[in-house]
């Protein structure tokens, strides 16, 4: 075999996407299953994004087990399934703006800021133009973020493998968990609680000892808790319970939805783009930086992007232009570019360190773990001279992201503008259907009733966590990373010849641990606002 260089790997990744198993051929051009799945994912993502009450997470939770049972468990399944999830992820941020602009109801939480200028624009007869601006900004931000991911992730991974030894890796994992606990949710104490519960749950029945720890002799617990059941339970079922209760309390707003008629020129002109582009650029950078930090979500990015844009806009605007909040296209651009540019950067810690930073990343890791053959983490980026199949998958993944962006640029906008009606789907019908679908698809993957009971139990836990304003995200990330932390810590302990102070002996590890404490300490001191 000839030696493989970096370019060969990139090329193999691209080929893996386009020359995979053929789905159908169109006018003699064969379309691979991966390409088709990316397109499906994107379309589904836009639809769920545009439906208030649904979102990318629910779509991923339901579709992942179904996809795995369709595509099977070999490495050929990786790119179609991961590509689909990436499509959903990208589509849902674009779709969230549709009801925000047309009906003043954000389709996804991160589109809340879009309502501020989008809805006034729609009321003044510029709905289509507002949608076009939102789409353009969203896709531009997303593309920028992906480029940063593709350039940074391999270098970061190589850096980690070169400079971090086992104790430092352990310390880095601890730092990420404490950072997530500190920044997500209302308070560091609640974040730590959530994270601690996740760790406690994952340590049931696992470990190196020959007896199943923490299982109280129960056979159901001795094999540990299935990861899919825990994640879907806390995230999705918990959220459905909370939504159902909200519906119970507040009588649904049943007034007729007012739709303003479009008037005048709806086209996006070159001058418009020139006008909003500085806002897109600034917000894309803000969103990308925020996205690269684990645990900080797109809602915060949107808030900061909007606030920064507002400050600069107020100084520069002409007197006749509308203020932010009164229908300024720049406001939509600043929000949408920021919240969409989170998604690509969010995968930087996943692919280079194996640390998921948000829920979409958790589902990508779940998919990779269930299918097998791809273990996100620094070992993926080993440019070995004989074929490293994981690296090919990584570049294949990048290719699906670029592909999803291209589709988003071309057909995404048109599709998105046709989805105004979805806001009318009543939640009281939607939520039970979603609950049923979630449980059914979980059963498809786990094929045991115990998984359903676990999911229900964790759903109740998730419900109470949300009722007490505790974010479930640290729980999920704690659950996903718990095994890794334990393994790495054990290995670091033995590698240093059984030194109990291994976390403090090397300067880098000590610095990470110090940061971990500092992050918690600082966020305990200052009063916080909910930023998830």
């Amino acid at each position: 075999m000839t030696d493989l260089g970096t370019l060969d790997y990139i090329w193999l990744g691209i080929l893996a996407v386009f020359q995979g198993p053929e789905a159908f051929s169109l006018l003699g051009v064969s379309v691979s299953i991966t390409v088709m799945m990316v397109a499906f994912g994107l379309i589904l993502g836009i639809i769920v994004g545009a439906t208030p009450g649904l979102g990318g997470v629910i779509a991923m939770a339901i579709s992942l087990p179904i996809l795995i049972s369709i595509f099977g468990f070999n490495s050929d399944a990786l790119l179609p399934v991961l590509g689909f999830l990436i499509g959903v992820m990208k589509g849902s941020t674009v779709g969230g703006a549709v009801p925000a602009i047309l009906f003043n109801t954000p389709g996804t939480p991160d589109a809340y800021m879009t309502t501020l200028d989008g809805y006034p624009m729609a009321k003044s007869g510029k709905a289509r133009k507002a949608l076009k601006i939102s789409h353009f900004s969203s896709v531009t931000g997303d593309t920028f973020s992906d480029i940063v991911l593709i350039v940074c992730a391999p270098f970061l991974a190589i850096l980690v493998e070169t400079y971090l030894d086992l104790p430092e890796k352990t310390a880095l994992l601890i730092l990420s968990l404490s950072f997530i606990a500190a920044v997500v949710g209302g308070s560091a104490a609640k974040g730590l609680l959530s994270c601690g519960l996740g760790l406690l749950a994952v340590y049931i029945g696992t470990g190196e000892d020959f007896y199943p720890r923490l299982s109280f002799g129960s056979a159901a617990l001795s094999d540990g808790i299935p990861i899919t059941a825990a994640v879907i339970g806390v995230l999705v079922i918990g959220a459905i319970f909370t939504e159902l209760e909200n519906l119970w309390h507040q009588k649904r707003h049943t007034g007729a939805i007012e739709v303003a008629k479009d008037e005048g020129d709806q086209r996006l002109h070159w001058a418009d783009i020139r006008q909003i582009f500085p806002h897109i650029g600034r917000s894309a950078i803000i969103g990308t930086i925020i996205g690269a930090l684990p645990g900080v979500g797109s809602t915060l990015a949107a808030t900061i992007g909007y606030a920064t844009g507002k400050r600069i806009y107020a100084k520069k605007k002409k007197p006749e232009d509308p203020e932010f909040g009164q229908g300024a296209p720049e406001g939509i651009a600043a929000t949408e570019a920021a919240n969409s540019s989170v998604s690509g950067a969010n995968l930087i810690p996943v692919l280079s360190l194996g640390i998921p930073g948000n829920t979409a990343a958790v589902f990508l890791i779940l998919a990779a773990e269930s299918i097998g053959g791809f273990n996100p983490g620094p070992a993926v980026f080993k440019f070995s001279s004989d074929l490293n199949p994981e690296l090919v998958i990584a570049f294949g993944l990048f290719t699906t992201m670029i592909l999803a962006n291209l589709l988003n640029w071309t057909v995404g906008g048109v599709f998105m503008r046709s989805l105004g009606a979805l806001v009318r789907i009543p939640k009281q019908y939607l939520l039970p259907v979603v609950l049923l679908l979630t449980l059914a698809s979980l059963y498809v993957q786990e094929t045991s009733m115990s998984a359903i009971w676990f999911a229900f139990g964790f759903g109740i836990l998730g419900y109470f966590m949300m009722r007490f304003a505790i974010s479930p995200l640290p729980f999920v990330i704690g659950f996903v990373l718990g095994g890794r932390i334990e393994d790495t810590a054990r290995q670091a302990f033995s590698a240093t010849g059984g030194d109990p102070w291994f976390l403090l002996k090397s300067p880098i590890a000590a610095a990470f641990i110090l940061c971990a404490f500092a992050v918690i300490f600082l966020s305990l001191r200052k009063p916080k606002v909910d930023i998830t």
């Binding site: 049972s69 094999d223 097998g372 290995q491 590698a495």
Partner: protein
């Protein structure tokens, strides 16, 4: 006596052919859950998934792989032993799961499961990256004696004991790092987290490419790819790691299901040109099929002899 023997042979033949006839007719009453006791992405896992894939193609069965890792394969044994015995649950483990792991944990015996068939042996060796400059295990021991800390990656408790005994017999202390699966050892070596480690066979490609060296054979005979590598007995170690990968089913498994699954697995593992066969050839020195009483005897032997290693590593 002779007559009795004759009739016994006849009876056995009839029984044999009738099971075989059963086996031909046997179809699983539902999808088969294939429990895999090895970490995803490693050599053993790849082997199991390739077999699953080819079983689906050859037999038209639906096979659903599921990872149940940890505790030297005992988690997988626990997951399979009480499953429905109708052939819808099987597990791929390694012989030491029913030997060393059970003896060390003082739980269970090989009779807790039904043995179906082995697929392949291992080419267990001690490996290091070529750029470390070591040629044999002796070089490593010298380095350790010179004061260098040596990190030794292992993937089972039995191998951890062997690593410890190697150190003990040669007057050095290795820092023994237990990881999940041979893939994790390879990753650890590549990342510089470990200096040497055990490889069950998937190191073949890296050894051929000159990226890795096999410093010693951990088998009773030389390794196929590095016939010149010394044996552990050259370093005063009486223990070897003669593992084989095998499929097991629940206790008291339906004999027809057992026979059908055994012959189906043997068929795909030995089919020339098949993906599973090619993989076994490359990584584990080719398919090795043991079934029935022969297999039962081998497994029981491994179980009975595990005590010695545990005792040697205990003091």
């Amino acid at each position: 006596m002779k007559k009795l023997l004759k009739s016994a042979v006849v009876a056995a033949t009839i029984l044999g052919t009738s099971t075989a006839a059963f086996a031909e007719d046997w179809t699983p009453p539902g999808p088969i859950k294939m429990i895999i006791a090895f970490a995803a992405g490693g050599g053993a896992d790849t082997q199991a998934r390739l077999i699953a894939e080819e079983l689906e193609a050859a037999q038209g069965w639906k096979v659903i792989p599921e990872q149940v890792t940890g505790k030297g394969g005992l988690n997988a044994v626990n997951a399979v032993k009480d499953a429905p015995a109708d052939g819808t649950t099987i597990a791929m483990i390694v012989t030491s799961s029913l030997g060393y792991s059970m003896v060390a944990s003082k739980t269970g015996s090989p009779q807790d499961v039904t043995l179906i068939t082995t697929t392949a042996g291992t080419q267990m060796g001690i490996v290091a990256l070529a750029d470390k400059g070591w040629k044999t295990l002796g070089d490593v021991i010298e380095a350790a004696k010179g004061g260098q800390e040596i990190r030794f990656g292992v993937m089972t408790p039995a191998l951890a004991d062997i690593a410890y005994v190697i150190g003990k017999e040669n007057g050095v202390d290795f820092n023994i790092i237990s990881v999940k699966g041979g893939k994790a050892v390879t990753n650890g070596l590549n990342a510089g987290d470990m200096d040497i480690g055990f490889g069950a066979g998937v190191q073949a490609k890296a050894v051929a490419a000159g990226d890795m060296v096999e410093l010693a054979s951990a088998r009773s005979e030389p390794l196929k790819n590095s016939p010149d590598a010394p044996l552990l007995s050259d370093y005063g170690v009486d223990f070897v790691s003669e593992l084989a990968f095998l499929f097991v089913g629940p206790k008291d498994m339906d004999p027809a299901a057992r026979a059908a699954i055994a012959s189906a697995i043997a068929e795909v593992a030995t089919k020339e040109g098949g993906k599973a066969n090619a993989f076994l050839m490359k990584g584990f020195g080719g398919a090795m099929i043991l079934t029935g009483e022969e297999l039962e005897a081998t497994v029981q032997d491994a179980y009975d002899s595990s005590g010695a290693l545990i005792a040697a590593a205990a003091d």
